[in-house]
Each structure stands twice: as C-alpha cells, then as structure tokens.
C-alpha cells in the first residue's frame, strides 16, 4: 500500500479507464464474432484488457489506503464514479458497433498499448513496472491477432472488405489522437520516473507504426490520412479529449452499472 502522487494517480486513472472501456466495449462482441474460435479469441483479449484495468485500479485504490469505507472500493471506483470523473479517451469509449470498426480500433489501440506499457516498464514504482511486463506479454498476442485479420483482409482481393476497413481507418484514426491527450500533470509523473516517455513522444511513434502497417498492407487510405500520419504532433482537436465524455458514454456507463447498482453494498 503505497501513497502515490497526484500526477501518478492521474496517469494511472487515465490508462486504467482506457483499459476498462476498451475491454468492456470488446466484450459486447461475445456471441457475435464471425466464427466460434474468433469469438473466443476476441473475448479473451477483452478479458485481458479488463485484467489490465483491474491491476491498475488496484494501485489507485491501494493508494487511497484504509480511509475508504467502501466494502469493495475497486468495483465502486471502476463503475460508480460520475461520468465526468472518467479519464478514458474517445477511441476507447467509442461504440464501434460494426465488426470492421471493432477490428480497426483493436489494431489502433493495441499499437498504442505497446508504447504505453513500454513507457511504464522501467517505472520508479516497482508494482507498476511488474504489471507493465506482464501486460506486454499478453499484448504480443493481441497485436498478432489484429495483424492477422488486418493483413488477411487487406490481401484478400475482396474490394468491398478492403473498402470497409479503409473507411473504418479514415473515421477512427482521427479519434486516436485522443489517446495521446496527456493526463493531468504528466510532466510531474515523468519527473518522478513514474513513466518514462511523454504522450507527445509516443504519439509520433504511434503514427509511424500505423503508417508502416498501412503501407505494408497496401491499404488505399485517403490523402488526408497520409498527411495526418506524417504530422509528428497530435492535432489541436485532441487536447482535452480525456476531460470530456464521448457521445453515448452515459448510456454505456449505465449499462455497465446494471448489476452493481442492484445492490452496491453486496459482497460478491
């Protein structure tokens, strides 16, 4: 049970909320995957992301210490905060109701996760560094999974499938900027060694990774996407992305609360 600085807490909450939202969104595909094996694989990835969220939330609530009177503070913290207190980014919150959107978001998000865990692997907080190492071992599979589908669709020769994922990329990629909206006081978190790389620096690496994938798969993205990927700095529109909830968030949060709100004090 270690006390964390305000900067460290804000950094953890932003990442944990991203993992929580993406995990919860991914799980909405349970039973609807294109075939049974893929259904299982994608839901397993979703559960991995929820596992990451739990590990990060644990650090947060541990830091709050025993002052909390809640029976299960981690569930309460994860599910019962007011919507305005969440710090997830738009890309993690987006519904992605079409399978191609869910796939493209999975690829974009997990490309970013690789960089984000790497920036925590040498954290001055040993518990966080251990979580980062374990999570990255799982992420290797997540990326292989996303890559497998993206590369196969891209090389399928099926024009309508290629058009679907290209269209998804063009709609979702600009949302990805919000991933790199820095949590409050990120500079302090870097100064204390809690995290070793800034969001701005990771953003430019992420764009390079995404651009390389698109080139490798020979996907016909539009000029504006190519220009966007060539700009090192995140666009101004991403600023404050984590401070505002995206459209449909309230409804989504209510659905996540459906069980816990039956009896918030129940011990499960």
């Amino acid at each position: 049970m270690s006390e964390l600085s305000a900067a460290a807490l804000s950094y953890l909450i932003a990442f944990a909320d991203d993992e929580h939202m993406i995990g919860a969104r991914h799980t909405s595909w349970i039973g609807m995957g294109p075939f049974l094996e893929e259904d299982l694989a994608f839901c397993s990835i979703a559960q991995d992301e929820l596992g990451h969220a739990i590990a990060l939330y644990e650090l947060v609530v541990d830091s709050f210490g025993s002052s909390s009177e809640l029976v299960t503070p981690i569930d309460h913290f994860a599910l019962l905060r007011p919507a305005a207190d969440y710090r997830s980014c738009s890309l993690a919150e987006a519904a992605c109701d079409d399978w191609q959107d869910a796939l493209v978001r999975h690829w974009l998000y997990d490309r970013a996760e690789e960089l984000r865990w790497a920036a925590l692997a040498d954290s001055s907080n040993p518990a966080l560094a251990a979580i980062a190492l374990r999570s990255e071992r799982e992420e290797v599979f997540h990326r292989a999974h996303a890559e497998s589908f993206m590369s196969r669709i891209a090389s399928s020769g099926n024009a309508s499938s290629i058009a679907l994922i290209t269209d998804s990329i063009q709609r979702l990629l600009p949302l990805g900027d919000g991933l790199w909206d820095p949590p409050d006081a990120e500079a302090d978190a870097i100064a204390e060694g809690f995290v070793t790389e800034s969001s701005a620096s990771m953003a430019s690496k992420w764009k390079q990774d995404i651009a390389q994938d698109i080139q490798k798969w020979n996907l016909p993205v539009g000029l504006e996407i190519q220009i966007y990927l060539n700009e090192a700095a995140p666009s101004a529109s991403s600023f404050g992305d984590r401070l505002q909830r995206s459209e449909g968030f309230d409804q989504f949060l209510t659905s996540l609360q459906a069980v816990i709100s039956l009896d918030p004090e129940a011990e499960w």
């Binding site: 094996e37 397993s44 999974h145 196969r152």
Partner: protein, 95 residues
C-alpha cells in the same frame, strides 16, 4: 476454413493428448485461435495442431473385424468361472 485437431502436452512426462478441434482459415490463424480456444488457462505447455486433412484414418468398418474375437480377450473371467465351479464342487455347497 480448415479444421484442425488440437493436442496439448502438460509440462513433465505426460504425453500429448487430444484436446479438441477448431476451424481456422490457415495455419497461423489456427495457432493463434487454438491458443485462446484451448489453452486460456494454461491447460498445456506445448501444443500440436494437425490439419484434419493430414490425418490417416482407420475407420470403423476397417477396424470392426477385430471387434468379434473374444479369444483375444484374456480378462480372466473364464478362469474365475472355472475356479468358482471347482470350489463349489469340493466344498459341497452352491455359490
């Protein structure tokens, strides 16, 4: 889609055992998906995947002539029955 048979081996001296089957579009996807379908909880330390089309089968019709050969089954029941009979004969009462 191709069908693959999945075999898992636990760490140690256990042999590979059949775990089930799965469908996948190609070998690499089969590897990825089998991992999530069959080894999510560390059920095996090693995995073999075999395309079902590569399996050489001995089907039931081919094997069935060997079903009906009781003389090849030595489960001891004949001897046990004979002993029992002899015992009841010498001891003078019926079992």
């Amino acid at each position: 889609m191709k069908t693959y048979e999945v075999f898992l081996k636990k760490a140690g001296k256990d042999e590979f055992r059949h775990a089930g089957a799965l469908d996948a579009p190609d070998d690499e996807m089969a590897r990825l998906l089998a991992r999530e379908s069959y080894v999510r909880r560390g059920e095996g330390a090693q995995m073999w995947l075999v395309a079902r089309s590569a399996i050489i089968e001995g089907e039931e019709e081919f094997l069935s002539p060997n079903f009906d050969k009781p003389h090849r089954h030595n489960d001891g029941s004949n001897i046990a029955a004979r002993r029992k009979r002899k015992r009841s004969e010498t001891e003078g009462f019926e079992a």
